[in-house]
């Protein structure tokens, strides 16, 4: 009897068997295929209730009772498999043809629990670099992932980072666990960098700062906090936004919806659409904003537009949630790039802010960033910090130390800090100059009269070219220019030497492919 109850409660806790949402968010699927996937998910739910009624027989059954071929599930549910098109989308491998006759328990090799698992789709962004590496064409250009390259298209380790690492080596510091919230020296400087050391929020300790695994990890902690303390609250994200934002909120089980952002007609900001959608959202929603250098479009609101955005957010009692991945990288100035966040903070608003040092300090692989929660009192900030720690502990216990030490050393040493500011101006400067060169090439080569000035107006590492899916594919297939299918190019991967070639590719794709 006891066995039966346990089994039932396990089923009661069960969630959807197939990770449909995250798969869907990555694939550009036609609506018929979307329907098909939902039917598939439903069929699997039916399967679980069948299992529930079969409980008495389970105790004598052999192992792997939860595994059944998906085809069987669909047949049970009397669902048509759909057109050949749709099953091709699933892929032949998705449905295992092999039958599930269990091997005897005494055989040497077991049957795997995970035998039904299919290949995950390649990550749309990180997958681009993998494809680029495999290409042997001499003119190939990697404008995929947003990692800075020098004019010679080499990765760049900042001088200040090398110096900081040498200092650290000399000191011979130990490698003990950091506290769950990370390196204290890092947390202090990162908050100050964001808001300014003299800012009231910092002076009055109204900010909870926890070191996170770069931008992604910091966003994930914030998402987990939202899920736990604002169950049911939505996050509004820009359309488009960085691909991984949706994955993060999906996996954290936080519902999200989009607000208009990109206007393809102007290749600029759909400001009125943005304001309307933020206004229309349920009160108390979280609004995800890119602090500067919007990814993937490169389109930022003007200071006046930021004021209006703040107005409507306050009107609707929404919570601003900034993703700041490019502070210093956009304009070349750390303070200028933080002005949107500071504008909101100056109004006394409570904020969430995720930071990353991947780009501006070139510390990509060290995974160093922070989640900040600006609260209305220091007492609340302390409590929030304690709960962020409680979320981090079962994720990774405590964050990696190396990147944190580098940041603390660079920002905490005035010579290194000044040197960093200079290096950042150089990096941002190079990007601005290739934008100019690309714009000049496009204007010179294109006789159609199309206005390419958006290349100059956009800011930061990325540009939304306005090319569609097919056109972006043409860029890759014909011109060996690697970029993401949404039309995003990373200027950081462009050298001035290749600007003309790129201009040719863009013009060809834009005019000759639909």
């Amino acid at each position: 009897m006891r066995k039966k109850k346990r089994r039932q409660s396990a089923i009661g806790n069960r969630q959807s068997a197939i990770p449909i949402p995250s798969v869907l968010s990555l694939l550009p699927l036609p609506s018929s295929a979307v329907f098909f996937f939902f039917v598939l998910a439903r069929a699997t739910q039916l399967h679980s209730s069948q299992m529930a009624s079969a409980i008495p027989s389970l105790s004598s059954a052999t192992a792997f009772t939860s595994r059944r071929p998906l085809l069987d599930n669909l047949k049970q549910a009397n669902v048509k498999l759909g057109t050949p098109n749709q099953s091709t989308l699933l892929g032949k491998d998705h449905i295992r043809a092999k039958s599930f006759t269990r091997k005897s328990m005494t055989s040497a090799v077991e049957v795997s629990r995970f035998g039904d698992i299919t290949m995950a789709p390649p990550d749309p962004i990180l997958g681009v670099s993998e494809a680029f590496r495999a290409d042997t064409h001499e003119m190939k250009l990697n404008l995929g992932v947003g990692a800075y390259r020098t004019e010679d298209l080499h990765p760049y380790v900042l001088n200040v980072v090398k110096k900081a690492e040498n200092l650290m080596l000399e000191r011979g510091e130990n490698k003990e666990y950091l506290p769950i919230e990370g390196l204290a020296a890092f947390n202090k400087v990162t908050a100050e960098l964001l808001l300014g050391a003299q800012n009231d929020v910092i002076q009055q300790q109204k900010i909870a700062t926890v070191q996170g695994l770069s931008g992604t990890g910091s966003l994930r902690l914030a998402a987990a906090l939202i899920e736990r303390y604002f169950p049911g609250s939505k996050v509004l994200i820009s359309s488009p936004t960085w691909g991984n934002h949706k994955n993060i909120f999906n996996d954290a089980r936080v519902p999200w919806s989009e607000y208009r952002y990109y206007d393809p007609r102007t290749v600029g900001l759909d400001f009125h659409g943005m304001i309307s959608d933020i206004k229309a959202a349920p009160e108390g929603s979280f609004v995800l904003l890119h602090g500067c250098a919007h990814n993937p479009t490169g389109i930022d609101p003007t200071p006046e537009q930021w004021e209006s955005i703040a107005d409507v957010i306050q009107e609707k009692n929404h919570i601003p949630f900034f993703d700041v991945a490019y502070q210093g990288f956009a304009s070349g100035s750390l303070d200028t790039d933080a002005s949107s966040v500071r504008l909101f903070a100056a109004r006394g608003m409570e904020l969430l802010v995720a930071q990353s040092y991947s780009k501006n300090l070139g510390l990509y692989a060290e995974r160093i960033g922070a989640i900040n929660v600006v609260c209305s009192s220091s007492d609340i900030a302390q409590r929030v910090k304690s709960q962020l720690k409680r979320l981090a502990r079962p994720m990774y216990s405590n964050p990696p130390i190396h990147g944190a030490r580098i940041v603390a050393n660079v920002v905490g040493n005035s010579d290194l800090f000044n040197e960093w500011k200079e290096e950042m101006e150089l990096m941002a400067g190079r990007i601005k100059s290739v934008r100019k060169k690309l714009y000049d090439s496009l204007s010179a080569k294109d006789n159609s009269g199309k206005d390419w000035s958006f290349v100059l107006k956009q800011i930061g590492m990325f540009s939304f070219t306005g090319l569609n899916n097919a056109q972006s594919e043409n860029m890759t297939n014909k011109w060996h220019v690697y970029m993401t299918k949404d039309g995003r190019i990373s200027l950081a991967g462009l050298s001035s030497a290749k600007c003309e070639y790129l201009a040719d590719a863009i013009i060809d794709s834009y005019h000759n492919v639909s």
Binding site: S22, D93, D123, L169, Y177, S214, R220, N244, S376, S397
Partner: protein, 419 residues
């Protein structure tokens, strides 16, 4: 949701006032393990002893950075770019790490049947597996030994995998409750998922013998259970990494398709670097490729890709025969010092004339000793003697030195002699 915000006193939309969104957030309870160190650091007493968190200390009570690690760092400093690792982490590091767990000449590795990704130390590896288990075996539960490292419960809970427990520690003998453990294994529904500590069980230090492991493996076969090994102390338990992986090797010989979390926090002293590995044994290479892709899919929205520095240290050391030899020597040195301290603590207690048996101090293995002390006795140790440990009576032997073992034995004797 709105009610909660309104109830907490949120103000209307006046521009100059802020609404306190987080007022309803309670302070989290202190982490039982990491909180101990915080308290220790705050204590001004010159006699204070930290036998709380499981981080190795030398005989002077100082943290240790291994020589092989220092050398590796010198070699990698400043000359490598910091580009993102692939989502699965450092390929080199993972390959070397799998050899440690599965054996240098493992057929599984030759046949590429092991899906593996770099993970954020042991915690990250366990969490990734828990999320993977939730997504691909959504009806399953996890059986966790009693007791276990406290964070195991947090990990599977936050991954939304229901938990059950199985008997493990036998308080009366301070050893393994093998009979009850086997009963629980037999009574669990077929095909259950079990969390096993590969060696140097945390917090008890009580490991099954080789014969017992064979029996456990056999029973797992009969029941079709899934074995997930958390191996955080390979090399640290006996001093010999091959010997410490014996439990895993037994299961592999028996044909189990296991999962395994590995960590370099202790055995390479890379605590703060967060380097580890999660592996899942599959039926064939194709399945391993698919499983690996799904593990990466889970990692991407958590941290995108893992940190490089610690991984570089590991692959530099394990990829160089001389450095690897040095590492093996240093690991043995750490394990030997701990074994020596176990002997010293037991002898001291016996010399003091303790009425209790302290045999378990030397029978148990690895970093921890489950002393059998009650929470009240532990509180007395802290309040009266400034000795810091977790309230379950777990002593981190790594924090015991020739300098403090006498003081420690005396204090333990004082609080236990009447009970």
């Amino acid at each position: 949701m709105f009610g909660r915000i309104l109830a907490s006193g949120a103000v209307g939309a006046a521009r100059s006032m802020s609404t306190a969104w987080w007022r309803h957030v309670e302070p989290a309870p202190k982490d039982p393990i990491l909180g101990v160190t915080e308290a220790f650091l705050a204590d001004p007493s010159p006699n204070k002893v930290n036998v709380g968190v499981g981080a190795y200390r030398d005989d002077n009570g100082k943290p240790v950075v291994l020589e092989c690690v220092r050398e590796a760092e010198r070699r990698i400093a400043g000359n490598l770019n910091m580009e993102y690792l692939p989502m699965g982490g450092s390929v080199n590091m993972v390959e070397e790490t799998l050899k440690l767990a599965y054996g240098e000449n493992s057929d599984l590795l030759k046949d590429k049947r092991v899906a593996a990704v770099q993970a954020l130390s042991g915690t990250g590896a366990c969490r990734l597996f828990a999320d993977f288990q939730k997504r691909f075996s959504p009806d399953s539960q996890i059986y966790i030994p009693v007791p276990t490292w406290a964070n195991h419960h947090n990990i599977w809970r936050d991954a939304h995998v229901p938990q059950r427990t199985f008997h493990y520690y036998h308080p009366q003998s301070r050893g393994l409750d093998f009979a009850s453990m086997m009963d629980d294994i037999k009574n669990a529904p077929n095909g259950s998922f079990f969390l096993l500590h590969a060696c140097a069980h945390n917090p008890t230090g009580v490991d099954p013998s080789e014969e017992q492991w064979r029996e456990i493996s056999h029973q797992f076969k009969v029941k079709g259970h899934f074995a997930f090994f958390d191996m955080a102390y390979q090399g640290f338990a006996s001093g010999d990494p091959e010997r410490d992986a014996k439990s895993i090797r037994i299961f592999l010989e028996d044909g189990h398709l296991i999962g395994c979390a590995q960590s370099y926090a202790k055995n390479m002293g890379l605590y703060g670097q967060r380097v580890g590995c999660l592996s899942v044994v599959c039926e064939d290479e194709k399945q391993a490729v698919a499983v690996k892709s799904q593990l990466q899919q889970l990692a991407r929205p958590m941290y995108s890709n893992p940190p490089v520095h610690g991984a570089l240290i590991v692959s530099t050391i394990l990829g160089d025969p001389d450095l690897k030899k040095l590492w093996l020597k240093e690991v043995k040195g750490m394990a030997d010092r701990i074994i020596g301290m176990r002997t010293a603590l037991r002898e001291n207690l016996e010399k003091l004339g303790s009425p209790l048996s302290w045999e378990h101090v030397t029978k148990q293995i690895g970093m921890f000793c489950y002393s059998g002390m009650t929470p009240e006795q532990v509180d007395r140790l802290t309040q009266e003697y400034h000795i810091y440990m977790t309230r379950n009576g777990r002593i981190s032997m790594a924090g015991v030195t020739t300098g403090n073992v006498g003081y420690l034995a005396n204090a333990i004797h004082e609080v236990t002699k009447s009970g």
